[in-house]
Amino acid sequence: MAPGSELPPQALVERLYRSLHFIRHAEEEVARIYPSDQIKSPVHLSIGQEAISVGVCDALNTDDVVGGTYRGHAVYLAKGGDLNAMMAEMYGKITGCARGKGGSMHLVGMDHFVLGTSAVVATTIPVAVGYALALKREGKGRVAVTFFGDGASEEGAFYESLNFAALHKLPILFVCENNGFAIHEPLSKRWAAHDLCRRVEGFGVPATRVTDGDIFAIRTATAATAARMRQGNGPELLECMTYRWKEHVGPNEDFNQNYRDAAEAAPWIAGDQVPRLAAMLPTQLAAAIEADSRVRVADAVRFAEESPFPTFEELHTHVYAL
């Protein structure tokens, strides 16, 4: 928060913390369970990056639409996606949000307007733009948000999407979660020019950067852009600098792999929004929220464990829609 700006009202902090702590704890549980081999699919944890999803989604309406990537647990949950269905999905159970057919990389929650996530980088960007086209035609002022990584911004489809969205003044917010890495490759090996916002503005899409991961700044920026988009102002981009705490895929830390330096992580860990928000709340309230998270996550794990696997017939269902 910029110095001198007002302290956020406690209700807001409470709401944000509820979401943030829940997501953090859910992913920590996933990481804890992972070595037991019950989750038989690659997981890309958002740990350290959750404030982006939470900040953005808090500024949206229930019927606004979001889409994310294979690193999509946080977006899915922040938008209201059902943790039971997500956990069961990771366990490959029929009660999963995609009936076990999708796994961690293909979460979906259309009942909360969470578009399906995808394992092929950048593919969901134009899809979300297309959804925004439908929202514009619908004319009810709903907006769409597409989350993606810095690496995704290198795919041609991203620029094609920017141009089309701007041309048609579509209500879509592009949110780049810039964690500086695509797998193990740093930006310096991938971007010739490091100012993404400037690049994007060249396409006629206004862009804002939040450099410090401040969840309130992210929320405020989103609220402002969403309001503009609901007026028909066209797409915008939000670049949120962030940091991935765990390895690219899997439950572990990987600072021992020498492709990045633990010192890099230090300011991000120091600026972690989870304890920050906790500290802004009365201790008891924070504790209650945390307890609630624990119950919900434990329930979800139990739900996943106890759910049945899909059976053979399920293999051939849903290849074609009726």
Binding site: K101, G116, S118, P126, G130, Y131, A157, E160, V319, Y320
Partner: protein, 355 residues
Amino acid sequence: MSTHSEGRILRYVDALAEAVAQEMAQDPAVFVMGLDVDDHRAIQGSTRGLLEKFGADRVFTTPLSEDAMTGVAIGAAMAGMRPIHVHIRMDFLLLCMNQLINIAAKAHYMYGGTVSVPLVVRSIIGRGWGQGAQHSQALHGMFMHVPGLKVVAPSNAHDAKGCLIAAIRDNNPVMFVEHRLLYTTEAYVPEAQYTVEFGRARICTKGDDITVVGISNMVVESLRAQELLKDIDIHAEIIDPISLVPLDIDTILNSALRTKKLLVVDNAWVPCGAGAEIVAQVLERAGPGAGITVKRIGFAHTPTPTTSALEQFFYPNPGTIAQAVQQMVRPGSAPWQPDPERTKLAYQVQFRGPF
């Protein structure tokens, strides 16, 4: 499906435009996008009148961005719209493979049935006037490989209208394959909306000597070949599968079990193509004792040459099809050369029904 020669005589291209206009009038979710759909050429006439009737919100050109535009169409479809994405050449679908195969084909399954992608992708196989290697490709074989996509290739105006309406109403991505040379062909086309059901092949002509399956424009070329073959008393049963996915293999199998000869004439490269699939399915089902002679013909296995001096050898034509049939039906007999005058005449042949 209409079963008689009803309706007016209409050109293929006009049948396409009519199908879309009728569906758009009826269902506000239907819209048309794609490079140049709204210009005065109107995709060789096949989107003629749509802009005027339905306005720029529902009929719009796009930037040259086939990859993202395919994603946009998919996203709109997931939101409940029914996009028709048009490509003036099928070759350009090679820019769309990622979205088509990684998203459109898989979304319904991968997301556990919670979303569907009612998308029509229209594309035209180019031919004539030295289109060359990059403006003449036919890629339906690739799409047949991929679960989740439907693939249709109507060969006449009647089926063009009925299949396009069926495709628009289908809740899955449908690859709608057209052929440039079919655009001016005419057939009886009912005025009212109707669907031509996918997965039901049509026997265009009955015959006992050989089963010839033609694909897309090769139905027309095979019918012409069959005209020539009558001269030497060979009677070919010409089958038009109409839709390739789903494929009505039973009709083909039953015919081949009777004629003992199966020739697939594709409008595409042969290896791993529609012909390979049809031949393999028929022989898997017929079993080793059926004694069916099989053969596939299609594009020469080369990139398409531009010069007409080579193009003439690249495509199957009524003469080469008829010759292949003759050799299959009368193996070992002297090669036969259809009368060039008759071959020319064969080009007058049109299949106008009954449907």
